[in-house]
Symmetry: C2
Subunit: 380 residues, 2 copies
């Protein structure tokens, strides 16, 4: 009865290891149920995946969503969410929730930020108020709002950065992770650290080893997809994943596009999150097996086909490309939602196909097939 | 078998006449099914009721929606909708569709408009292109895009206007209606004229009598809710409705708020349309029996109640006021949609309650009860 067990403890099992690549199929058990890995987590910055209901997220095949601690802490605030019975109750999403530490946003969005060995002081971009995040406070926030998977505070190092800066920052991330490990969290919840180290092999390996030494329920890989060439990202994955215990989930933060997911899986990644399906949906970019459709293009003006023939999402089962184009051109909110529904569904289906390919030992063929179809795409 | 009959001819039957007021319950049969009257038509300017799916419109209790001919003619254009199999097929709304004539929009939105006895020339606000609407062309557009209820071209007279202007304009509207009557439309479809005459009793009565003389499937009352005091609007209804044959539907265009609907019904109106539930939803104004809720108000910050306790709409059955406030304050698109779902549901329920009150001969008591509850509302 893996479900029952997983309802009480955070638990991860590799079900199937690909014989050729690092890819594996796993099962992550959280207080909110099972997450089949490799998995893609839609982003619900303020608790809601933009434009869609929890039911629509669920129908896309997603089993876990990501909430942004920084945003939720500032609005509506920890106490409101706590009073409303936690994030699940507040937002109506019954599946697993992973929250980031807020670190990335403090470093990218907050004003007048000041890092000290103890934590980071910053001004709210919402109202200018002053706040101080420490490894302990961000865990308390995440625990209070009811996150199932909690992430330790880290610094996401800008790209490019010097060796010196990267080393100092990475050491701080390790010290913060050490402190985080000592904070108590709710039963069954998981605590993930974040591997930093920039684009220096030695620092990445050092950081990984130190964090593995401390020991966490899962290992996020941060500081990637920050503007570097894809090859550099893949190189870091090749350095890092073999050093993480096989029985722990690996999460590649903020990634990515369909090809990134496939390449990440092949390098041993189990979890991904990204705004791509939702943000692209709102911008009128629609994912299909044959490549991306730019719905505003005039060739779709009277195209009776669904976005992706054969796709069983609500959007494809009911609407034509012509109607989606019309909604987009007319600035109709419904269009953004229908696009998002399709894109989430596309990502959900892609992850399902990836899991099946691993189970059937044909992940490399799957990648080849994926790229071959993408090459066939016709643009207009 | 009223449904079968109504599937082939546009048909209207008064089922119950209130014994005290002009209110009546009726049944309007169109090629797309039965519409129970009095009815409220959500507005789907570009074919979609803003932010919601056809299923969500249907679940609100709406049986008929209004499409704007002017907007649809300009974008995506008559030919695209025709090629896509008509407005129902294009938008996925299977219920009845009424389209306005586009006259109101030509007079309020188009640039460089020039009225001639033959029609009205204007520039598109979308791309500056030149267009000419005649009574015949607007009917052809509506017929081609597959509207179930077609409205004749009229001039919506600005408020206030002189007697001279109003008289000349009203005479033109009558002449245009005469021409419209001669145009063939699809089997089963209905043709409604628009009663104008401004706020001059004699002109309103003259216009009504002339149009009744020509004979239409229904009578829209236009030129109201254009900035006049409510008493003036009610006075026009009192002048006009008794002159319309009892067995024809009366449609009060562009109205309105819940109290307007009740007052209109009491004066014999069967059909209404308005952007109020959808637009107010997007602005965070939520309708309840106890009055309007302004969701951004800080008193809802940690309010665990649904918008309207007891309401069985999706929004109320799943989300708290606190969450809706949070979504609104965070600028989350989902909030606009959830607000719209509730408001449409409120309007659908109000019309259902109105029909029941008429059937049970207690429409005046219903009005009294409605106002008494509204007075009780607590604001914050």
């Amino acid at each position: 009865m893996p479900y029952a067990v997983c309802s009480y403890i955070m638990d991860f099992k590799v079900i199937k290891q690909d014989t050729v690549t690092q890819a594996r199929v796993g099962r992550l058990g959280t207080p909110r149920g099972i997450v089949d890995t490799p998995t893609f987590m839609p982003v619900g910055t303020y608790g809601a995946v933009r434009g869609v209901t929890p039911e629509e997220v669920h129908e896309s095949g997603a089993q876990i969503v990501l909430g942004n601690t920084f945003h939720l802490y500032l609005r509506p605030g920890t106490r409101v969410i706590e009073k409303m019975g936690g994030l699940h109750n507040f937002t109506g999403w019954g599946g697993t929730i992973l929250t980031d530490s807020g670190g990335y946003q403090v470093f990218s969005l907050a004003k007048l930020r000041k890092i000290t060995p103890d934590g980071v002081r910053f001004q709210s971009p919402v109202d200018g108020s002053e706040h101080f995040f420490t490894p302990e406070t961000v865990m308390e926030i995440q625990n209070t709002i009811g996150s199932d998977i909690i992430i330790v505070l880290d610094e996401c190092i800008p790209y490019p950065s010097t060796y010196e800066y990267t080393k100092d920052s990475t050491d701080m991330t390790i010290r913060w992770a050490e402190r985080s490990k000592k904070v108590a969290i709710g039963t069954g919840r998981g605590l993930f650290c974040v591997i930093q180290g920039g684009f220096f092999k030695e620092l990445r390996e050092h950081c990984t080893d130190e964090l593995v030494n401390i020991g966490f329920d899962g290992y996020a890989i941060g500081g990637l997809s920050v503007g570097e060439p894809k090859e550099e990202m893949y190189a870091v994955l090749d350095q890092v994943t073999p050093r993480i215990p096989l029985d722990k989930p690996r999460y590649l933060m903020g990634v990515g596009h369909p090809d990134d997911l496939i390449e990440g899986v092949i390098r041993g990644i189990d979890m991904f999150d990204c705004v791509v399906p939702t943000r692209h949906g709102r911008r009128g970019y629609l994912f299909t097996d044959a490549g991306r459709i730019i719905i505003k293009n005039s060739c779709y003006k009277d195209d009776e086909l669904p976005v992706e023939p054969g796709c069983d999402c609500y959007t494809c089962s009911k609407y034509s490309r012509a109607y989606l184009r019309h909604l987009f051109m007319s600035g109709e909110m419904l269009g953004l939602r229908l696009n998002t529904v399709h894109n989430l569904h596309y990502f959900g289906r892609l992850m399902k196909e990836i899991r099946l390919a691993i189970e059937e030992d044909r992940m490399l063929q799957f990648r080849e097939h994926f790229y071959s179809l993408q090459k066939e795409k016709t643009r207009c």
